[in-house]
Subunit: 274 residues, 2 copies
């Protein structure tokens, strides 16, 4: 879906840079600035620094004089506005509104959720409008929008930074559009099968008896407890291997202890390489 | 739920300020810094500026030397890490993991979603760990965690600003915890009832016939089309009033036109005051 971010009367160059970066992390690249404070904002040092590599977004950004030019070709306009007004489009949380907009059945978890803004059909393009840092959006700009998105913040402190607000909207919108996949940073482990866990536990039972921790005459619930612990831990085959190694070493120590070795001797088969 | 944000080896004072602000917007206030670059980071000008009013979070923040001190008393540790590693806790998207952690049935919309990280019971406290801007988290710090949260970003540009990452995690966590309510910026409109809409349409039909736009002999689907349009618009009683005013003015013009008035005369009953 075509998506545009529109910053109106932005004062701080750093926020323009942060916006470009926030957009790019979520895969968006269409940025339009309406009458920013600095005419050269796209080339200012602070902008470039805060953009941190999202330079293509800045390079493709357009600066225009009016909101009319900024929203040309966009079907669905979302204001971002926190200030109460006498009149205007309905206020909604971004996550719920995006679900409505895309025809998804939103998981409304709270009873007091507001009714969805009616959307007859999915638009082909969406623009998000952000007002100036100090004054927010002007009434006449809000009036043109289909919805006023309000990011749910602590009622006692709703002061979101402009770049942070862009980041949250871009994130929720990207997630609503299907999202990017999370790339596992490590290989997903395979699970050891139940037989492997049972075999390891048998090994441990023998070892714990050997070292005198488990009394076979009064085992209480020790082994079932360990069984539950290891079930929750969802052991991998490699971990079964480690735990069997520990059991083996316990048993070897027992054997050595049975031979009453000289004090300070090094036990055979000590763990290593894991 | 007790929630702590832990910044490890943070370099930029601005990011500490942005973190405090991001936390406070989402109603969190427990911030711990592990060995930040600047010992006086909580009092630096850039920190205070970027915190923008979240000064109580900075005031209550603690600076410690080790991660051990930072995570004391916290039951569930979440790394935030994007870099692939040979080994470590499972990588998950925040939104899914939070649902799992809180025992909610997450709305998993994509088939390729990763399996939830097993959580035997809801922890009483959660800490979110963030590494340094340049190097991220060290392996030994990640190893201590129960999960590595990865914010789903564009695979071609995953470079989230530290403050932005804190903002997204704080937002998703707050939403998972139930979220703050959105306060409607304007009064929620009441809907006009179907009889009021039908009455208004009757008025319009008469007016449109009067001005020669609707031919009663060949009405086509004009009135049903307008009916559908106004249904989608979900009219308020006030808007019914406006539309009836328009119809009335159209009819008055017709009456005037029937009297063939001198050219340029001002029609009676022109709209105003809406």
């Amino acid at each position: 879906m075509r998506t545009r971010f529109v910053l109106i009367n932005t004062s701080h160059a750093g926020n323009v840079g942060a916006t470009a970066r926030a957009m790019k992390t979520m895969g968006f690249d269409d940025l339009v600035l309406v009458a920013p404070r600095w005419a050269n904002v796209l080339n200012r040092e602070e902008t470039i620094q805060r953009a941190s590599g999202a330079l293509d977004v800045l390079k493709n950004a357009r600066i225009v004089e009016t909101l009319d030019e900024a929203v040309e070709g966009m079907a669905h306009l979302c204001a971002t506005a926190m200030t109460p007004r006498d009149f205007g489009p309905p206020t909604r949380a971004p996550r719920e509104h995006f679900a409505t907009l895309l025809g998804q059945t939103a998981a409304l978890s709270k009873e007091e959720r507001l009714a969805p803004v009616p959307v007859a059909q999915k638009p082909d393009s969406v623009a998000f409008l952000f007002g100036s840092e100090r004054f927010g959006m002007q009434n006449e700009d809000v009036y043109r929008c289909h919805v006023a998105l309000s990011i749910p913040t602590d009622p006692k402190f709703g002061s979101l930074n402009l770049g942070a607000a862009v980041q949250l909207i871009a994130y929720d919108w990207r997630q609503a559009l299907g999202g990017f996949s999370v790339q596992p940073a490590t290989a997903e482990p395979t699970l050891a099968d139940a037989a492997a866990v049972a075999g390891m536990l048998k090994h441990w039972e023998e070892a714990l008896t050997g070292i005198g921790f488990l009394d076979p005459a009064s085992p209480k619930k020790l082994m079932p407890r360990l069984n539950q612990l290891f079930n929750r831990a969802q052991l991998s085959p490699e971990e079964i291997h480690i735990l069997r190694g520990v059991a083996k070493a316990m048993l070897q120590n027992t054997a050595i202890a049975d031979q009453t070795p000289p004090k300070g001797s090094r036990p055979a088969g000590s763990a290593g390489g894991h």
